[in-house]
């Protein structure tokens, strides 16, 4: 994606101060997104104290070394000099291809439809197995071990919940409110169950992941925190509206909303990520997470910028179409369906741009602050590149009536795997499962949250 030179210069200027302590060995993998990964790299080196150890380099020495090389930061060969040999074992690779996956996917979708959805549990196990088994770390593939029958059971229950939620608003608003209330109360529980299931049935080199079933933490970060925020907001609103000057009240509300949007909400999202990462274990070692609220504040600050930047071209496009059609506002009123189509045209790209931004940055934030044992995860997804992938995927899926879905899924998986790696000097041989307890976990949670689309921030 070509970027204006002025913009690139601006990014270079704003990143300059950060580059001083950025890691110098990173090779820009995507030429179009030359600068963006640098800023992510800064999170790790400046915030994460147990830095990945290159052989024989002390902390002070390394800092000097980094600063000394800051000017040559874009030289790709630096990577080769720093990681001698061992780095080849620590990369994630994706081996899947669209042709094989298309055949697997299409047959399984067809069987699901023919069996009125019953086979879908087997189908999802098979397609997930393909995706897991084609993702490799250090040359070894991941494994998806779930059984179809528990998934089917979970799916049937999730379908009943969806049906109830779809029916409730037609019958009575009170019923709907009750359903949503009950679902809200159960949501943290579903989240824990979902994570338990996914971790339990994901394995690498014969050792499965583990998720600690910390229900207290889940309720704290996915229910109580929202309830507290809602109560505080209501109390503040009430105080402001009942006794106060109107303009002052409006100003205070604006300040309150910005504090929420740019300070509190990012902090909550970060804490949720921390909780999620720290409950995970692999081979007797816990994942560790270094929480830094600044990262999340920056993400949500920029979301506003992305919104404005994407709303302008979308608005111009829609305005131009409306002008070409030559309708007055009164005439527009008479074409409700065209207006609906135009509103999709306007909102679709904006939503995609914002959704992709949050997803890319949150994924980077999660991995770049997560470590396990002596290994530090590192994700360098570039927003521009991911946005391009998502946009072309969306266009391809729409144009092929869904037949391009496998190709789209493979592209995203490949890009994500190529931009994820472990940093550390070990050979990944030292993970040892401490408890041999391998209890079965019900698939209820994982099916409910994938069907209802809870945003659990992973």
């Amino acid at each position: 994606m070509p970027r204006p030179a002025a913009w690139a210069a601006w990014v270079a200027w704003t990143s300059k101060s950060r580059l001083a302590n950025a890691k110098c060995w990173r090779k820009p993998r995507v030429s179009g997104a030359f600068f963006l990964p640098k800023r992510d790299a800064q999170h790790i080196s400046s915030l994460h104290s147990p830095l990945p150890q290159e052989s024989g380099t002390g902390q002070g020495e390394r800092d000097m070394h980094n600063q000394g090389n800051a000017a040559h930061i874009f030289l790709p060969e630096i990577e080769d000099t720093v990681f001698e040999g061992s780095h080849g074992r620590l990369v994630f690779e994706f081996h899947g291809n669209a042709r094989d996956y298309f055949r697997i996917w299409i047959v399984n979708v067809a069987l699901s439809i023919i069996t009125l959805g019953l086979y879908s549990a087997w189908a999802s196990v098979r397609t997930r197995r393909y995706m897991y088994a084609n993702t490799a770390l250090g040359g070894s593939r991941f494994e998806y071990l779930a059984e179809p029958i528990p998934i089917l059971r979970g799916r049937l229950l999730a379908a009943a919940i969806v049906a109830l939620l779809a029916l409730a608003p037609h019958v009575s608003m009170r019923l709907l409110a009750a359903c949503i209330g009950v679902m809200g109360l159960l949501m943290p529980w579903f989240i824990v169950k979902g994570m338990l299931f996914r971790a339990r049935y994901s394995a690498w080199r014969g050792v499965n992941f583990r998720f600690d079933d910390d229900y207290v933490g889940a309720y704290k970060w996915y229910l109580v925190i929202y309830a507290v925020m809602a109560v505080l907001a209501l109390v503040a609103m009430k105080l402001l509206i009942t006794n106060g000057h109107q303009i002052v009240a409006a100003l205070l509300i604006m300040i309150g909303v910005s504090v929420f949007q740019f300070m509190i909400y990012p902090w909550v999202r970060g804490k949720q990520q921390q909780w999620m990462a720290e409950q995970h274990y692999f081979g007797g070692k816990a994942f560790r997470f270094r929480f830094d609220p600044k990262v999340y504040r920056r993400i949500y600050r920029r979301v506003l910028g992305i919104y404005i930047l994407s709303a302008i071209p979308a608005a111009i496009l829609v305005f131009e179409i409306q002008r070409t059609l030559g309708w007055t506002p009164a005439e527009l009123h008479q074409h409700p369906l065209t207006v609906k189509a135009l509103s999709y045209l306007y909102a679709g790209p904006i939503n995609l741009a914002i959704w992709a931004y949050i997803r890319v940055r949150m994924t980077n934030a999660l991995y770049n602050h997560t470590s396990i044992g002596p290994y530090q995860l590192e994700s360098s997804l570039s927003y521009g590149e991911m946005l391009r992938i998502y946009f072309t995927n969306a266009a391809a899926i729409i144009c092929t009536l869904g037949l391009a879905t496998p190709w789209a899924v493979i592209r995203v998986a490949r890009y994500r795997a190529e931009h994820l790696r472990l940093e550390g000097s070990g050979s990944l041989d030292e993970f040892v499962q401490t408890s041999s307890r391998r209890a079965r976990v019900s698939a209820l949670g994982s099916e409910v949250d994938s069907l209802l689309g809870f945003d659990i921030g992973l």
């Binding site: 047959v107 067809a110 999802s124 084609n134 779809a166 050792v207 994938s450 689309g453």
Partner: protein
């Protein structure tokens, strides 16, 4: 003898081994480990293109053998269902047949299967639920969208009597009654609620030229009530929501935006069928009570003038939830023709 990787199931250390099959005994050796197990005690993962085989050994350890290295005759007859699926996945014709099956399956299921099931479920719903649904809509709309009518009391009484006499002679109706409201936001329109309330707005009463065209509109709304269209429509909405969320459930990207449009189109498609059904009901009942169905066409013409442009031919057929006006008028004219023939 094939190459494999031995993992003890406790640590992440890989040991390169040679795996052999002698009779019914599987054995492995190399890199400091060796062992053997009966083939029947080894659990093997199902075959899938490009995916390595995992052989789960009795004591928690496992062997991994690359997809291309696995001899075809080991573990024959295991994972029967998945082996069949795998065989299909490797055939080009199966992929083509799947595309066809998905297309036909979706059309058949959306057009016949799901509506059929939704109708069965709707028929089993208690009457209480219809009443609750109707009451809730009225409560939500009254005072906001539905304001007290400005139509003079004697005209209201006249229409009420006309409506009651007409509906009394229609077979298969639940308890129905007429309600008249002033509604600037809705405009010239009429609708039926599942509890049996038929709502006319002041604007439509003003637009309709005579009593016969009023009866024509009323007959259309009674058609919705006689055939339980609202409950059936709700059940179809639930069905389509369920199907679409199942279909998009796995794909987290974009599902919000992309699922909204098919849901909308699908629900519109079902509504259209119900509208056409209510029209047919109206033609039939009008004729039964000796009202020429041409009154329906008159009502359509009058409404078209009240809402210029909206009912015009500009909209795409599938996007429109009422059948196109010209089409409805033509059908009314055909019904009228039949009615005239029957009289002579």
């Amino acid at each position: 003898m094939v190459r494999g990787e031995y993992l003890d199931g406790r640590s992440t250390r890989i040991r390169q081994v040679q795996v052999m099959l002698e009779g019914d005994q599987l054995s492995w050796r190399g890199d400091g480990v060796q062992g053997a197990a009966l083939l029947v005690q080894v659990n093997v993962s199902a075959r899938m293109t490009g995916v390595p085989f995992t052989l789960r050994l009795p004591h928690g350890a496992q062997l991994q053998i690359d997809y291309d290295d696995m001899p075809a005759d080991w573990f024959r007859g295991r994972n029967r269902i998945e082996s069949l699926v795998d065989w299909l996945e490797r055939k080009r014709w199966a992929a083509l047949a799947s595309v066809l099956a998905i297309g036909l399956g979706l059309i058949g299921w959306l057009e016949y299967g799901m509506p059929w099931m939704a109708d069965r479920v709707a028929a089993r719903m208690p009457q209480r639920m219809d009443v609750a649904m109707g009451q809730q809509t009225l409560v939500l709309m009254r005072g906001r969208m539905l304001l007290p009518s400005q139509v003079p009391a004697e005209r209201q009484a006249h229409l009420q009597a006309l409506f009651d006499r007409f509906s009394r002679n229609v077979a298969g109706l639940p308890a129905v009654h007429l309600a008249i409201y002033d509604s600037p936001s809705i405009g010239a329109n009429a609708f039926a609620l599942p509890d049996g309330t038929v709502v006319f707005t002041d604007a439509i009463l003003k637009a309709l030229p005579d009593d016969r065209s009023f009866l024509a509109v009323a007959a259309h709304e009674l058609g919705h009530l006689a055939h339980h269209h609202q409950m059936r429509e709700v059940m179809r909405h639930v069905g389509s929501t369920l199907m679409i969320s199942l279909a998009f459930g796995d794909v987290t990207s974009l599902s919000g935006v992309s699922a909204a449009l098919p849901t909308f189109l699908l629900n519109n498609h079902y509504s259209r069928a119900f509208e056409a059904d209510a029209d047919d009901f109206a033609f039939k009942t009008l004729a039964q009570q000796s009202v020429d169905p041409i009154a329906f066409a008159d009502a359509m013409h009058a409404l078209e003038q009240a809402h210029p442009g909206e009912a015009g031919g500009g909209e795409v057929r599938y996007m429109s939830n009422h059948p196109l006006t010209e089409e409805r008028i033509e059908k009314a004219q055909a019904a009228s023709h039949q009615f005239q023939l029957g009289r002579h």
